[in-house]
Symmetry: C2
Subunit: 149 residues, 2 copies
């Protein structure tokens, strides 16, 4: 169920995605929020910027949050449906909620997460859709590389 | 099915795990080998060393391999059954084989990977089991943190 701050939190993830686009990177952004609503970490895909295929937006936000004893009550907000890698991150560490900007241009593992008790909210945000649609049309090779296809 | 080089490759992952133990870290190591048998990348869990919860052994080896256009034919060798995060990595990027040192002390997502077409070999290596068993007994809090429990 959508909550009061979800769209404001998505705006943080969108800022990260836009910054990635300007850098010539894959424009996916994410942020991890605590149970109390505090921003724990934010980040963006860094495949191009750092030559690092392991840094997807969600793993960047997770890393930026540093070591945490528990992820109970946390929310991962991401501009795009999380791939299997990032879905596995959410499941393994017990992140409670995932807020997805859009799942039109890419449908990752968010249904699997919902089946396993994660609260999933898909916002169908038109800016997220437009940004990815344009990126994929212009950079099909890079996008394929980023999702292993 | 076990192949000729699997135990030699596991030795590389074990070297990483032992180095992590000496550093006071979580002793899990991994290595990614190409279809031609070349070592593409190796690494170890760096939660303690770098304060980085996103660097599990498998993600470290994957990162060390740099950007690759395809993972077809590659083998991820890891001293311990891959958690959901690392299993998701393998599935998303189409890594073809996973060689697991042991799955006695922790049973992650390798059955799920096998169901989804990944070739999985579990070696039941006694050194891998002994190292993790001792580590978990001495560091239950740290181990719980590393797997989100």
């Amino acid at each position: 169920m959508e909550r009061q701050f979800d769209r404001a939190w998505l705006a943080t993830a969108l800022e990260e995605a836009r910054a990635g686009l300007v850098e010539g990177g894959v424009p996916v952004g994410a942020a991890l929020y605590g149970a109390d609503g505090a921003l724990l970490g934010r980040g963006r895909n860094r495949r191009v910027q750092d030559g690092d295929p392991s840094t997807h937006a969600e793993t960047a936000a997770f890393r930026a949050a540093g070591r945490q004893r528990s992820y109970r009550g946390t929310t991962m907000v991401t501009t795009l449906s999380p791939c299997w890698y990032c879905s596995g991150l959410v499941r393994q560490f017990g992140i409670s909620r995932v807020v997805v900007g859009e799942s039109v241009t890419f449908h990752g593992g968010h249904d699997w997460l919902a089946e396993h008790g994660v609260e999933v909210v898909v916002l169908d945000d038109p800016e997220c859709v437009a940004m990815m649609r344009e990126f994929v049309a212009r950079n099909p090779e890079l996008w394929g590389e980023d999702i292993g296809e």
